[in-house]
């Protein structure tokens, strides 16, 4: 399943993001599309960690795609390349 991430990605996105994650069908890869996202905060980073745990039983990995350079920098500071597939 592909989920489009809103910009800015922050606490406001929670209401739509978390139900979307839970709806990911079993066995399907979860792909989070960061196209157009320029800002994300620690609330969003926390949501990503929870999304990863939420889908662990059903999906082998969570991919973050279309990340721009500033998003990649934040993810690098957070060391999320250890936990997600980032492109």
């Amino acid at each position: 399943m592909i989920i489009k991430i809103p910009n800015p990605f922050n606490f406001q996105a929670r209401k739509t993001f978390l139900p979307q994650i839970k709806a990911n069908p079993a066995g399907e890869e979860l792909i989070l599309d960061f196209e157009g996202v320029t800002t994300l905060d620690s609330a969003a980073l926390g949501m990503l960690l929870m999304a990863r745990e939420q889908t662990k039983d059903t999906s082998s990995r969570v991919s973050l795609i279309n990340c721009n350079d500033s998003v990649k920098q934040i993810l690098e500071v957070a060391q999320f390349h250890m936990l997600f597939k980032i492109s």
Binding site: D41, S42, L45, G46, E53, Q54, I74, V77
Partner: protein, 137 residues
Amino acid sequence: MSIKLVQLPEQYRLGHKYIDGQHEILFQLFKELSEYCKDTEYDIELEIILLSLKTYVDTHFRYEENLMESLGYINIETHKLEHSKLEKQVVEKFDKFSTLSNKDEMMVFALDLKGFLMHWLLEHIAETDRTFCETLN
């Protein structure tokens, strides 16, 4: 680009972009735990928050340890020992979590774990991480 520090108390900021940013995320997860305890209809399960916290504590500790290693930090073994002691305690607490049967017990557990981890982390940041970061500057 650095992670904006919102949850991490001012006096615990060490001036290292990566370490501060990762501590901020840990504090963000503590906030999730407190929110869960305030609201029984919270939108995420307790187990998911706890697992996220455990995963990220591991990730963060490995980052610090790799950094210390690459810099030949003299106190690395003592620092690593503190990390591994905490990790062991977290595993023990998680074993207890799987025996809980109702929501009230889970709430008590969540608040207790949050208190324990936050207290540990703040002391660790103030002493052990600060000492390490001071050698970096």
